[in-house]
């Protein structure tokens, strides 16, 4: 198991809505992952924690998560990932699914 | 057959009478608190539809003809019978029916005590040993879900790693002491088993306290807290 953590931002776009309902997507299985999104006091940043069963891909994780952060600019958002060895494509898919549900809470 | 007589004379020094029919043992015993009913298995029995049904019938006899008689289950099983026929006929139905019969007995005031005197494995242990209000085992009893080599093959975790973890955790390895730590068994005390069983017979509580015991003994740190928090949530 490998533990990774990253922070990106800060993003200047602050949500109006404060108490967001946590979002969970995905399943922790072989080639799959779950992603939990939550509110957090992070001075406008996005923070990622990754627990993965496949070690040695820190650079890949960093690239994928940085791309996602720069695209979504989620401020004060904690993103926790339990990974069972998903490919970058599956990680990106789940991140987008999570982002959609997260934004649905405050975009109207 | 020898082991069954050994455990009976150990636990019931005041006397007992058993008969063995295939892998099923039944009878009665004397204690200083009065008579008790005996039921159980011998020969590391594999519990399939026929044996489960026969055991259930014996329990129902006790319920119908011997009100509130304590029931002592003598457990020696290699687990559920692994066969196409038993699955075809619905072993789940028969094993669950046996549990229901014990539960009915408990509900009608029969104290249920189990004693693992030889082997207790997986589904057989669930149906016969774990249904009891209190459960005892001999120090040399063999209790497990699965042997470590088979577990290693199926989980793909190296055997050495499993063996290493068994030194610090009671969570998955075979062993009587693990089941004590997790709260499923009373403390092992071969020398005083007879009097411990008598105390258990006179105990009235039918609350399942295994998660609490597992917590107190440090074998299971989370189960009890989780159960309580769900019950008490607003």
């Amino acid at each position: 198991m490998e533990s990774l953590s990253y922070e990106f931002g800060p993003w200047n776009i602050l949500r109006e809505r404060k108490n967001m309902t946590p979002i969970i997507v995905g399943v922790v299985g072989s080639g799959n992952l779950e992603i939990l999104l939550e509110d957090a006091e992070l001075h406008g940043k996005s923070r990622f924690f990754v627990e993965t069963s496949v070690s040695g891909f820190a650079n890949t994780w960093q690239a994928v998560l940085r791309d996602f952060s720069e695209q979504q600019k989620f401020s004060n958002t904690l993103i926790t990932i339990n990974d069972g060895g998903a490919t970058p494509a599956v990680v990106q898919l789940r991140l987008l699914q999570a982002a959609q549900q997260w934004k649905a809470q405050y975009e109207d | 057959m020898d082991k069954i007589n050994q455990i009976c004379s150990k636990v019931f020094p005041l006397g007992y009478k058993i008969s063995i029919h295939g892998d099923l043992v039944s009878g009665t015993a004397n204690t200083s608190l009065g008579d008790v009913a005996l039921i159980g298995t011998v020969n590391q029995a594999a519990v399939g539809v026929d044996l489960a049904f026969e055991l259930a019938g014996k329990v129902l006899d006790i319920v119908q003809h011997s009100p509130e008689l304590p029931i002592i289950i003598l457990v020696d099983t290699q687990g559920q019978q692994l066969s196409r026929r038993d699955e075809l006929l619905g072993n789940a139905g028969y094993l669950s029916h046996l549990s229901k019969c014990f539960e009915l007995a408990r509900d009608r005031g029969h104290r249920i005590i189990s004693i693992i005197y030889n082997e207790a494995v997986s589904g057989g242990y669930l149906a016969l040993g774990m249904i009891a209000d209190q459960s005892f085992a001999l120090s040399d009893a063999q209790i497990r879900v699965m042997a470590l080599p088979a577990m290693s093959r199926i989980t793909q975790i190296p055997l050495e790693r499993l063996q290493e973890l068994c030194k610090s955790s009671s969570i998955f390895g075979p062993g009587v002491e693990n089941y004590v730590a997790l709260g499923a068994l009373e403390n092992i005390d071969d020398a005083h088993l007879a009097s411990l069983v008598e105390s258990a017979i006179s105990n009235k509580s039918t609350i399942d306290n295994r998660a609490k015991l597992g917590h107190e003994r440090g074998g299971r740190n989370m189960a009890h807290t989780i159960i309580e928090s769900i019950i008490k949530a607003c």
Binding site: - | L88, M151, S169
Partner: protein, 298 residues
């Protein structure tokens, strides 16, 4: 907003199953993932955790009636039961015994005990069983649904038959020992685990419905499953001497009549089905017509 769901249970995740089965916007989860109540035992075995330990529990409404619900996630460790997973189920059922919802719906999809936590899993299943009996004593009906790809096996298969009702689909299975375990211990002659037709004839939904190991057979469609569940709300079956004796009689007859059967086809023939070999390929309506003619009510 109710999301139109043409996908049934089998292809859905546990979370999707719960949201699809319940009335819209009624689900309240107990110990959701954000509370991070997960297994303490998996990290040292090199396995990733899931923040709900592979089972979702909570309450909600079906047809406006308040029920409790649990759904095992088949994709996480085969839906298998460990310390935390098991405690969530026990807690849900003990709570039901006190609060008395109209039913507890148990969407099981599991191989049974999680080997990585073998002892804790086995004891947990026994604790779930005791909690089931408590809920039943309190008059709460317990309904198991078997519609998932893992089937309902092992100790969970046993305790499922301690519940009031079982709803099963064609793809669903209910048994104790799995085909692979039987084959590896007793040989391929005893059970060829790769013979899917044999597996389903022996352990699958149609056979279980025909011999009354399951009370209801449904299509794997959300509305059909909801309707099947609703018929059992507030209809507990008491566990007393009469009901247990009746079950004993029924199980005894099953042994007498079919104890020598070599295959499900023999049992189906003895039930009075003219062309037993056709049963697996019959569509839902054709199967139900025949089944309800011959099926024994227990």
């Amino acid at each position: 907003m109710r999301i139109e769901n043409t996908v049934g249970i089998r292809e859905s995740t546990a979370r999707q199953r719960v949201l699809a089965i319940l009335d819209a916007d009624t689900f309240q989860e107990y110990l959701p993932p954000s509370e991070r109540v997960f297994s303490p035992h998996l990290k040292s075995l090199g396995m990733p955790v899931s923040f709900d330990d592979g089972v979702i529990i909570g309450e909600g409404a079906i047809g406006g009636q308040n029920i409790y619900i649990a759904a095992q996630e088949p994709g996480f460790m085969g839906g298998a039961v460990g310390e935390v997973h098991g405690a969530k189920l026990t807690g849900l059922l003990e709570r039901a015994a006190l609060r008395k919802p109209a039913a507890v719906v148990l969407l099981f999809d599991t191989g049974g005990v999680r080997l990585h936590e073998a002892n804790a899993g086995l004891i947990a299943i026994s604790e779930i069983q005791r909690a089931m009996f408590n809920a039943r004593k309190a008059g709460v009906p317990l309904i198991v649904v078997s519609a998932g790809a893992n089937g309902v096996y092992g100790g969970i298969g046993i305790i499922s038959r301690c519940c009031d009702y079982i709803v099963i689909t064609e793809e669903g299975r209910l048994s104790v020992s799995g085909p692979e375990v039987i084959e590896s211990q007793k040989g391929v002659e005893e059970f060829d685990a790769r013979d899917r037709a044999l597996v389903w004839r022996t352990m699958g939904g149609k056979h279980r419905y025909l011999i009354n190991e399951a009370q209801t057979f449904v299509k794997d469609q959300i509305q059909d499953i909801r309707n099947a569940l609703m018929q059992y709300f507030n209809k507990p079956i008491p566990i007393n001497l009469d009901t247990v004796m009746a079950e004993h009689q029924h199980l005894g007859e099953r042994l007498r009549k079919y104890g020598k059967a070599e295959d499900a086809l023999d049992i189906w023939r003895d039930l009075g089905i003219a062309n037993p070999v056709d049963i697996p390929s019959l569509d839902f309506d054709a199967f139900m017509t025949i089944a309800n003619q011959v099926r024994e009510n227990g």
